[in-house]
């Protein structure tokens, strides 16, 4: 089974490109497997630093960023990604963070947030909806 190994972009690939950032290997694999049908996953990051660097390198249509990661997490990554790749739609992947943290991230430029534990279909719908805003 192919979990988290991504096919190279095809010329006629019309799926939005996506960066996934989470420090948990299992979560990265699960998200990649669930979203690979609707999105072209161009990069997977394991830390805040990687997330920012890969967003700048690939300039994906969307970036799904875990709140808590080594190096500061989404609170560090969101403003940097917004500054370095302004066309990227940043969506926050949260555990059970407080309303204040979520509001802070939305104010910093995140377009939406989703909670871990929702279905892949719901996650894909949220990402797609965020891209239309």
């Amino acid at each position: 089974m192919n979990l988290g190994v991504h096919q190279p972009a095809r010329g006629d690939d019309l799926r939005p490109s996506l960066l996934i950032a989470d420090d948990d290997a299992f979560v990265r694999s699960a998200l990649s497997a669930q979203l690979a049908g609707d999105f072209h996953i161009v990069a997977v990051a394991r830390s805040t630093t990687e997330a920012v660097a890969l967003a700048e390198e690939h300039r994906p249509t969307a970036a799904l960023i875990d709140v808590e990661m080594p190096g500061g997490g989404a609170r560090t990554a969101v403003p940097q990604i917004v500054a370095r790749s302004p066309d990227t739609c940043v969506v926050i992947l949260s555990g059970d963070e407080s309303r204040e943290v979520v509001l802070e991230l939305l104010t910093a430029g995140a377009a939406a947030y989703v909670r871990k534990g929702i279905t892949g279909a719901q996650l894909s719908e949220t990402l797609t909806a965020a891209l239309k805003v």
Binding site: L3, F26, V27, S29, A30, Q34, K116, G117, I118, A121
Partner: protein, 124 residues
């Protein structure tokens, strides 16, 4: 302790199954391999009073458990994370024992699920 939650979140698992049976079959062993490693880290960290390690490990286990639909493990991981955030690890060893038991129950529940869906198994 918070009220006990179901061992499995059937909505999340059904969502994973909707991508085809291979996805869940591929993810379950990944999850248990990683969770076993995390539990083996938690014991020594609790014994040494390393609240930050306990917090981060419990947080990670909570996230992976929520993603797979292992809601019972996610719930206890969340409790352990909260305890570690408070800096008082006096109840952490007890929670780790609960976590081990719940992970075993979760493994059994996934195995039962797989067996009940195998060809030739009795229809439910």
């Amino acid at each position: 302790m918070t009220p006990e939650r179901p061992i499995l979140d059937e909505v999340v698992i059904a969502g994973l199954e909707s991508f085809g049976g291979d996805m869940l079959a591929g993810l379950v062993p990944l999850y248990f391999d990683q969770a076993a490693g995390q539990l083996s880290q938690l014991g020594p960290a609790i014994a040494r009073g390393e609240a930050l390690v306990v917090r981060d490990t419990a947080h990670s286990l909570k996230g992976s458990s929520s993603t797979l639909g292992a809601s019972g493990v996610a719930c206890i991981s969340s409790e352990l994370e909260a305890v570690a955030k408070s800096g008082d690890l006096s109840t952490a060893a007890e929670l780790l024992g609960s976590l081990r038991s719940r992970l075993d129950e979760t493994s059994d529940a996934f195995r039962d699920r797989t067996n009940s869906r195998s060809p030739g198994s009795p229809q439910r």
